[in-house]
């Protein structure tokens, strides 16, 4: 038997297994092709990034009262164009002295939602129910007014980022319950219920949102009894909700299908009725599974709200395209407007998608079948 009686000397570290040089060598310059790619990439960045920064920050005009101050040799982006009309970009034609009302509604919503994120919060279900069922009415009374001593502000005055947020939030809040019912219906054993749900879902998923919006704005008035005319925003909302419900239904169906059959059978064996077994056993598990999918659906809806400009509502993009764009004292800054709108949408969508990814990791409790 051979046993060494002294500790072997430490080997020197491999010449380059750490440090900046090693990292550069393996990640950027590992082969001739990689070297070429790296230089092409650097060239691309050099071509795009410095000019963009130059335009957007260094040469930009941040404060100006007239258009002329933004013009001239070597002047970059004219952000003064946005900041001068910031109220409209945010609220559309909402009367400026009443801005506190949508602000209050927004703050209320943020406070209520943040309660849900506190881990030890008791009775979360009730808070959630309050947000979904009671808060919309509070928000409507605040923003629309017309009672409790608040002056009325018609929906034709709503606009800007506020309208974008209202449309997407109401859209998802209303589409969620409808979508869940449709998903349950699609998995029903009753042939009539099932086929009605399948036809409904496939119809809305098969047509573009623009045709739905056209339908809502042109055909919906024809469907209703004569004389009952309601406003453009409500009609667009109906179209968006139905459209969105179909997408939600498909996401929820995915969750329902992922629940193992044993859970269904166990809940039946416990003697639970259909609705009880759905409410207590299946849906809590299925909805947890599909939260990331629902967030992704919401992102898609949020981006799609820009389409309402085609039927003449003034969301963020429409304000920038039509209202600011046609102001003769500030002509020629359409690029700034678009870049600003793109930036706002990007911030919202990107943070939501990161949140959805984090949720996916957090909720992944390992129950894979």
């Amino acid at each position: 038997m051979y046993i060494t009686d002294k500790i072997l000397p430490e080997l020197p570290a491999p010449s380059s297994s750490k440090g900046v040089l090693h990292w550069l060598k393996t990640n950027l310059f590992s082969s001739p092709v990689n070297i070429l790619i790296t230089f092409l990439g650097l060239f691309l960045i050099y071509k795009i990034v410095p000019p963009a920064i130059q335009w957007a920050f260094i040469d930009a005009t941040w404060v100006a009262d007239t258009r002329e101050e933004c013009l001239g040799e070597g002047k970059g982006a004219c952000w003064a164009y946005i900041s001068n009309r910031f109220g409209q970009v945010m609220y559309g034609f909402y009367p400026p002295e009443e801005y506190w009302r949508p602000n209050l509604a927004g703050i209320l919503l943020i406070l209520l939602t943040s309660l849900l994120f506190i881990k030890q919060m008791p009775k979360k279900v009730w808070i959630g129910a309050f947000i979904l069922l009671v808060f919309p009415f509070i928000a409507y009374f605040l923003i629309h007014g017309g009672s409790f001593g608040l002056s009325e502000v018609g929906t034709d005055k709503w606009g800007g980022l506020m309208l974008t947020l209202i449309i997407s939030l109401v859209g998802i809040a209303a589409a969620l319950p409808l979508g869940i019912i449709l998903a349950l219906g699609r998995r029903s054993t009753m042939p009539v219920v099932k086929s009605i749900c399948v036809i409904f879902i496939e119809f809305w998923r098969g047509v573009p949102l623009i045709t739905v919006l056209f339908m809502a704005s042109v055909m919906l008035p024809l469907f209703l009894p004569e004389g009952s005319d309601f406003d453009k925003l409500a009609r667009a909302m109906i179209g968006i909700i139905l459209f969105q419900a179909a997408y939600v239904a498909e996401v929820v169906r995915g969750g329902l299908q992922a629940i193992p059959k044993g859970q269904y059978e166990a809940s039946v064996a416990m003697g639970l009725s259909y609705w009880k077994s759905m409410n207590l056993i299946i849906l809590p598990q299925a909805l947890k599974l599909v939260i990331p999918g629902l967030v992704n659906t919401f992102i898609a809806l949020f981006k799609d709200t820009t389409l309402v400009l085609i039927i003449g509502l003034f969301d963020l993009l429409a304000i920038i395209e039509n209202v600011l764009g046609s102001d003769s004292s500030w002509l020629g800054f359409f690029t700034e407007g678009l870049v600003f709108a793109a930036f706002v949408f990007w911030i919202f969508c990107f943070s939501m998608s990161r949140y959805s990814m984090a949720l996916e990791r957090k909720l992944d409790t390992g129950h894979k079948h």
Partner: protein, 395 residues
């Protein structure tokens, strides 16, 4: 015994508690409710239309349209009928969708593979591309390309040009057009013959490999056949193909293929937007093939390229294809945003102009939706067929 058995039978629940009758009752109620709903809507619509003096029916389809369309794949002028605007719209929608799908697939695959590259810089650039373009609404991107980029192009006289045959200016993109001469048909025939030969070769090689275990380099041979044979015939027959290069005449270009800026902007936006989604699909598809598969293939003695071709790609495709088709469908539906910049697609021409002129809202919206629905269902049907074909055959 028989008496005992009947005794053991569960007592029948009262009829209002029997699941069978309950479901029948519920379904009948639902049918009735839905029928009533549809009946009310139809009645309301008919009364409303009568009150507004709108006639129903499809008679308007054969009336003269009286307007011109910016781009049309079939002959069209203001004397043509409204029915023809419908066809022109469908063709334009299909044109931009087909081109968009083609370019978005190529770009998406490139970006997806780039994101997995071991070159750190390249993979970061790909990530930035994906995160930027898929988080900005498509409509903003369309406006960006159309108004910010293409409107800022120089006039025809100062066009950007490439090899003096591709021109880009404020009026659009001008490309050389291929012009075939009399002998070109032989090249086409050779190509078709080569195609058939490749098909036969593939079958033969498969049979031989199954019988003897000897692989045959099918891919290389077929590529050679498909490219070299037609090329040879093409050269022998005296290169019967010329290019009609666009030439600046007066204030505009003549000849070649001209792409109107609306089409070009829409195509750019659709391609770039959809490619970001396709890239993510491709990446997740390739990552879905477990590393063990690659290692197993390599340890069996397959070369890296064989591993990729026979092990990784077939398995990745199974993951990639279903979400990919839904992206194609999205692209087709998103092409309807054309109406925002005035590209004459189905929504813009038919649901826009024709609807405004005739007022036949119900008919026109229904027809438009039917077209999109048909495409969706066709693609879904193809998808289901393909999925069934590609699904793992488990033993």
């Amino acid at each position: 015994m028989a008496e005992n058995n009947t005794h053991l039978k569960p007592s029948k629940p009262p009829i209002w508690n029997d699941p069978k009758y309950r479901s029948l009752f519920f379904q009948a109620l639902l049918m009735f409710g839905l029928g009533l709903f549809i009946y009310t809507i139809v009645q309301n619509t008919l009364t409303n239309m009568e009150a507004r003096g709108i006639s129903t029916g499809f008679a308007f389809m054969s009336e003269k349209s009286g307007f011109d369309i910016l781009q049309s794949l079939i002959p069209f002028n203001s004397d043509s009928t409204y029915g023809r605007t419908f066809i022109v719209g469908i063709l334009n929608t299909l044109l931009v969708s087909a081109l968009g799908i083609f370019f978005a697939t190529i770009l998406g695959f490139l970006i997806g593979v780039a994101r997995l590259s071991n070159n750190w810089l390249l993979s970061k650039i790909a990530t930035v591309y994906i995160e930027t373009f898929r988080n900005i609404p498509l409509l903003i991107q369309i406006f960006f390309w159309y108004i910010v980029v293409l409107r800022a192009m120089p006039s025809a006289r100062n066009s950007h040009s490439l090899f003096d045959s591709f021109f880009l200016n404020v009026r659009g993109l001008y490309l050389p057009a291929p012009v075939t001469e009399s002998g070109f048909i032989y090249t086409v025939i050779t190509f078709i013959i080569a195609l058939i030969a490749v098909f036969i070769l593939k079958n033969w090689a498969k049979k031989r490999q199954e019988a003897t275990g000897q692989p045959f380099p099918v891919l290389l041979t077929s590529l050679g056949l498909l490219i070299l044979a037609p090329l040879l015939v093409f050269l022998v027959t005296g290169s019967p193909l010329t290019w009609d290069v666009p030439v600046l005449k007066g204030f505009n270009f003549k000849g070649g293929i001209s792409v109107i800026p609306e089409l070009f902007a829409l195509l750019l936006a659709l391609t770039i937007y959809t490619a970001a989604f396709i890239a993510e699909i491709v990446r997740s598809g390739i990552k879905a093939v477990s590393h063990g598969q690659t290692e197993a293939a390599l340890s069996l003695g397959l070369t890296p390229s064989q591993t990729l071709r026979f092990v990784v790609i077939p398995q990745a495709m199974r993951v990639i294809i279903p979400p990919m088709t839904s992206q194609y469908l999205n692209l087709l539906k998103n092409s309807s945003l054309a109406t925002a910049i005035g590209y004459p697609d189905l929504v813009s021409v038919f649901m826009g102009t024709t609807l405004n002129q005739t007022g036949q809202a119900v008919e026109i919206i229904m027809m438009t939706m039917t077209v999109y629905l048909t495409f969706s269902l066709l693609i879904s049907a193809f998808m289901n067929w393909y999925n069934a074909k590609m699904a793992l055959t488990e033993r």
